[in-house]
Amino acid sequence: MPPRKREQTPATSSSSPAKASTTTQAARPSTPSKKTTSSSSSAQQIVDGIWKNYVTKTPQRVKLLDAFMAFLAAVGALQFVYCVIVGNFPFNAFLAGFSSTVGQFVLTASLRMQTNPENRKEFKSISDERAFADFIFGSMLLHFFCVNFIN
């Protein structure tokens, strides 16, 4: 898959600013530490702060993964609600659909973790390209089983 690889290589190079962002993040907790957590408003502030942080600090590629994960969660929730309302008559079909979203969500989360530069020390042996190839392999297996199971 040479085109994929070409997509990937700038991505890895773009992860170097992310690395810079992590160092600032590590230093960050010292700055807003004057916040008190006694009231709910401060909790609100904290959540806002986190969100702001997320929007500014997260690289574009990771945001894309997060958007995909949010979409998967939404699809899974929809399927579940439909199953609750209508009933689970072809149970295997419901299971196949639901577990495909869950499995894909989990695999995407794994990819996000493996390509996160903060986790470099955890995944010494896995480069970003390797993580992506693993992700494809896992997804292929998952979808083979789902399609087989849905009849």
């Binding site: 957590t37 904290i46 196949a96 577990s99 989990v106 996160n116 986790n119 896995i126 693993d134 199971f149």
Partner: protein
Amino acid sequence: MDALLQGDAAKNTRTLLRAIILLTIAGAAISSRLFSVIRFESIIHEFDPWFNFRATKYLVQHGFEPFWNWFDDRTWHPLGRVTGGTLYPGLMVTSGVIYHFLRLISLPVDIRNICVLLAPGFSGLTAYATYLLTSEMSTSPSAGLLAAAFMGITPGYISRSVAGSYDNEAIAIFLLVYTFYLWIKAVKEGSVMWGALAALFYGYMVSAWGGYVFITNLLPLHAFVLICMGRYSARLYVSYTTWYAIGTLASMQIPFVGFLPIRSSEHMSALGVFGLLQIVGFVEYVRLQLPSKQFQTLLRSLVLLIFLVSLGGLVLLTVSGVIAPWTGRFYSLWDTGYAKIHIPIIASVSEHQPTAWPAFFFDLNFLIWLFPAGVYLCFRTLKDEHVFIVIYAVLSSYFAGVMVRLMLTLTPVVCVAAAMALSQILDIYLLAESPSEGSQSLDSADATKAAAATSLLSDGLRSTTKPIVGVYSYMSKATIVVCSTIYLLIFVAHCTWVTSNAYSSPSVVLASKLPDGSQHIIDDYREAYYWLRQNTPRNAKIMSWWDYGYQIGGMADRPTLVDNNTWNNTHIATVGKAMSSREEVSYPIMRQHEVDYVLVVFGGLLGYSGDDINKFLWMVRIAEGIWPDEVKERDFFTARGEYRIDDEATPTMKNSLMYKMSYYNYNSMFPAGQAQDRVRNSKLPAQGPELSTVEEAFTSENWIIRIYKVKDLDNFGRDHSNAVAFDKGHKKKKAAKRRGPRSLRLE
């Protein structure tokens, strides 16, 4: 010598040596399993394998699709069995693939030989998988090879995988060990690929053996313990969630498993840990973004709260019955008295008894006392993978203590742990360099102390003049190495002896020694089965106790009422009732089930103890579970509570169909009044039993198997006892004068 120990040449040499050693181990593993084939012949042993063999033949003859949807109408006679949906197809499909592959390379091997030699073949692979697993655990290069050697010849594993033992465990143990290897690899690397491969092999394992539940609970437990130890890492998340997502889907492809992974209590731990990992992963992510300490503790309590709530939800679902409770087979592992009281059919299997101490030493020899040492060593260097070994060791030790059969799942971890311990010992005593003078002078303080000591005690203690003693001397090294070598050699001798004497006897043919030492083969089983095969109509139904169901189906090729797949307890109880009741009661039962022949196993003449009279009480118990007021176990015991077959036997016992069929005509073998049962060691009543509803059709050479034909209805509509009495010439009393009370004729 030095040239061989350093650099690239050394690497190549070591690789070559390793390959040679592994090949030798595989050869030893295979050849030590061939005793029974060489001594007797290449046939399938035991009871269960006969069904697997029959299913494999069906698969090879008809192809995969018909096999997957196979409805077998030649077992469980009135009901039949949906075989495709009630068996683990992995074993048969594996043999079928090997069969077709050999055809492809134009080596047409008979399917029977593939089935017989499948277990030895896979034992070599098991040894290799153990090598891989242990190499992940230990830095020592020798640990893996030792573990492979242990696994190759341990009697604990050989007992279930000799040639001819075509049972699920033949391939399941390889898959078990290999799945564990892939899982450890996945946890260490944190890689999706290894996790997915572990899931694939887990799916294969599910298709092969019902013991996959062990893996389903062991891996989550490992992950859970790691979380509790505070060792959560992104690696754990990646490997576990990948394994669970793909593995659960893969396991649900097997029709026999179906929706169990989300509907039964055995699989709930995996689901629970999956959910917990999602929460923990998310919280870890958020915690890194959070500024304040209080919030982080709040988050932690939140995790605990969610976990407890979900646990409560699980309990609620189980109680309300949405999630099926534990099945009896697994539940009896926790509540060890449960099966005996509630499900006699589980307790009646000899393999489900608790294990005695000698069995551990018999099956594992010196590994059993190296095993705790290996587990202790795992504690010393507690990495993620060592936690796994510790958990596996503790759990499987418990299970092996509860059930003889589960010695099989204990064996791999014993081999791994013992190999780690032994390799540690050998590494220290073979490789430990004595500390040179140079290294001593480095810690100058010590050196000055030693100098001071020597100046004080110039000719005092030897330890001060020569500070290097103990394990570094050649003497101590030699002692330890020689001891280990002797133990290893004894281990090999023990394994060979045990395999040859205890585990290599086919149950289909019985071997006995004549006084002059030559071997005498007792082949009654096959004699009787082939008599059935050749002298009865193809659709004659055979009723026997369920132990022989598979063999009758496999060798005699006749429909049976019950077999070893004990899925319908009531049907088995029906057979038990027919066997343990009077003829007037059992004849209608046999008519209703269209039974043509009844087969009983009787070892009284030869002293063969595994016969039906010794199993008779289980038949009574199982029947009593369904019809407590018609069959009572108490009635088969004398007033003093003894189970007897001689003159003092109870009338219920003497009138039961089983007793009559076993001892029918047995007196004719002996001089009058001297009939002797050599299993029960008791004299039989002078007057043998009379049979009226069945007639003897065949008795094998040593009277081990007796087959009776069920009589048809009487031509004149009399009941059979009257008809027999009439034929014998007992005239009925003239009833002309003494008419009974009049009764109205209805037809």
